[in-house]
């Protein structure tokens, strides 16, 4: 900023800040809409005009997690009284919760959510683990054709998922890995590994070589120096890389759509498939979407200082 500012500059500055606030509201409006729909009574989700303010309720989440059927006749008052609060909300909607004996039958959502967690966590650990070692190798040792190798590694990241999925589908079918957690984990590791190598190499390059050299002089082996000096120094970088890999795996759709259909299906192909035909129950879909987006929103805040680095594969820091 120039030291002396004219009054027109100050007005311009204020106008820009107002514009930023308006733009932020516009950008957040779709997120507010899906989040608020998750807490709306069913009839308000599709009301005309659209409802902005309302008494929030958690019934959509009860519907999200349970299997229900439409009731033919009204509920027996005694059963209604005996029911816990969440079951009453279902009765209020003219439905009843399906049970086996006294056990509530869960919908498919918790299963799909768990699949997403398993696949994202395991693939992240593997991709970041392998990526950290490889990044150290590229950062510290002379490698013939290093630039070409790094380009090769990055180019695997750029392959369109559907292109890779066709031969992988055939190969998985041949060895029985279709619709399995392991199959999906392998694909996600392959997809995230290149990213992890590039990002970790940026972090490794920032750790001064002198640290290890001092350790080597003190009698450490190279491996000891790596584990005791380099890894602790790289902890922040490893954490940031891990969160990025987790988000990518968590969000991935095309591979999951093609490779899984039941047992190992993750949330991204499952959530849109709930729309089905006829009038969809948007409150329940919104509840599922809300829970699915929540971890990503939290991680975005944790990662805020590393986002630039992450989206440019470590090329641009700051």
């Amino acid at each position: 900023m120039a030291a002396v500012r004219t009054s027109s500059e100050i007005v311009l500055n204020r106008a820009a800040i107002v514009a930023v606030l308006i733009a932020t509201l516009i950008f957040l409006a779709p997120i507010y809409w899906i989040a608020s729909t998750a807490f709306k009574p069913k009839d308000l989700a599709v009301s005309v005009p659209p409802t902005v303010l309302f008494q929030p309720e958690v019934t959509p989440f009860v519907r999200l997690f349970t299997k229900r059927v439409q009731m033919q006749k009204t509920v027996d008052p005694q059963a209604y009284e005996a029911a816990p609060w969440w079951e009453k909300r279902i009765y209020d909607g003219g439905e009843r919760v399906l049970k086996v004996g006294t056990d509530v039958q869960l919908s498919q959502y918790p299963d799909r959510f768990t699949n997403s967690l398993i696949v994202a966590i395991v693939s992240t650990v593997l991709a970041v683990g392998m990526g950290t070692f490889t990044a150290y190798g590229f950062s510290r040792f002379k490698i013939a054709g290093e630039a070409d190798l790094l380009f090769f590694i990055l180019s695997t990241r750029m392959l369109p998922p559907v292109v890779v999925a066709i031969p992988m589908f055939l190969m998985y079918r041949a060895v029985g890995l279709n619709d399995s957690h392991i199959g999906l984990i392998i694909l996600y590791v392959a997809f995230n590994l290149s990213f992890s190598v590039w990002l970790m190499k940026g972090f490794m390059d920032e750790i001064p070589k002198e640290y290890e050299e001092a350790a080597l002089v003190d009698g450490y082996t190279r491996m000891q120096a790596f584990f005791k000096i380099v890894l602790p120094e790289a902890a922040t970088g490893i954490a940031a890389t891990a969160v990025f890999c987790f988000i990518t795996a968590w969000n991935e759709y095309a591979f999951a759509l093609i490779m899984t259909n039941r047992r190992a299906q993750t949330a991204p192909p499952f959530i849109p498939s709930q729309i089905g035909s006829g009038l969809p129950d948007w409150t329940t879909i919104a509840a599922g979407t809300f829970l699915f987006l929540l971890p990503v929103a939290i991680f975005t805040f944790l990662l805020r200082n590393h986002l630039l680095r992450g989206v440019t594969f470590g090329a641009i820091r700051k």
Partner: protein
């Protein structure tokens, strides 16, 4: 004698004399990753290159035949495929242009100090961190013809954004602009904050107009990073599958990746879809090459 020689070596080699050699460690650290990527990314591509010369269909058990270049010939003379490429080109141009415009505009507005700047920047970045398939899903709710908030706000009544053949592609592009403008904004902010302040001060002393300062100082200095954003978004938009596939089934919004998916997994025309995959792959790799070249250029600065 040997111990005397060792004291003259550099620390790295002395360490090597104790534990594994640096060469061993290097190979141990790098080779597994390369092997993994070759087995799970390159080998499948070789496999599908083979199938692209056959009439193989994955849902039938009858033996396949070698057909030479017939798949490629048919694809390149198929009007349907060409129209998919044209739709994709339209989509890339509209959505990337929109993202560059909105993203760079937001960055210009944000490039000043004000309270809660960090929080607002992070909030603006939320859309690009979300799953494209799920974003596509909830934008269906926003675009709903009768009760959707978009039609209400703009007074469009029953306008069916996603099932109208003329608007479906652009509705998807608008969603993509919402999702990815923050990416351009993030890169632009980095470029803008790297412009040396004294240039602006010198321009102010010379009473240079805002436009002059913008075109002669800001744009030239930010353009390398804008170019990176442009190439990266072009590549990603070209590959778009998730968001368009979950949002609409309109043939006018059938991007090349969706065409490829349908041909491979709905029509089970495996041989031909492998050939189409290769055509798409070569185009993507050409853009990737360009991207990495410019990325390295910015990195060296």
């Amino acid at each position: 004698m040997a111990s005397v020689a060792l004291t003259h070596l550099d620390p790295a080699s002395r360490a090597a004399a104790r534990g594994w050699s640096d060469l061993t460690i290097r190979n141990l650290f790098i080779i597994p990753t390369l092997v993994f990527l070759i087995v799970f990314n390159i080998f499948p591509l070789i496999y599908s290159l083979g199938y692209s010369f056959t009439n193989f269909a994955a849902n039938r058990s009858e033996p396949w035949q070698f057909v030479g270049l017939q798949n490629y010939r048919e694809l390149l003379s198929d009007d349907h495929i060409w129209s998919n490429f044209i739709i994709t080109a339209k989509y890339v141009i509209v959505s990337v242009a929109g993202q560059m415009f909105v993203g760079f505009g937001l960055a210009l507005l944000l490039n000043r100090s004000f309270p809660m700047k960090g929080l607002i920047t992070t909030l603006l970045l939320l859309p690009m961190m979300m799953s494209a398939a799920v974003v596509g899903l909830f934008w269906q709710l926003l675009y709903s013809p009768s009760w959707g908030p978009i039609n209400y706000v703009f007074g469009l009544g029953d306008f069916a954004w996603l099932s109208n053949p003329d608007s479906a592609l652009y509705a998807v592009a608008i969603t993509d602009i919402w999702m990815w403008s923050p990416f351009v904004m993030l890169l632009s902010l980095a470029g803008l904050s790297a412009v040396p302040q004294h240039l602006y001060e010198a321009a102010a002393i010379d009473r240079a107009s805002w436009w002059y300062t913008f075109t002669r100082i800001t744009l030239p200095l930010v353009s390398p990073i804008l170019l990176i954003a442009l190439i990266f978004r072009t590549m990603e938009a070209f590959k778009t599958f998730d968001i368009a596939y979950t949002m609409t089934t309109q043939p006018t919004a059938e991007l090349i990746a969706i065409r490829l998916y349908k041909q491979a997994f709905q029509q089970w025309d495996t041989g031909k879809s492998c050939a189409l995959a290769y055509i798409v792959l070569i185009m993507v790799l050409a853009i990737t090459n360009l991207y990495v070249k410019y990325l390295n250029k910015v990195k060296e600065r």
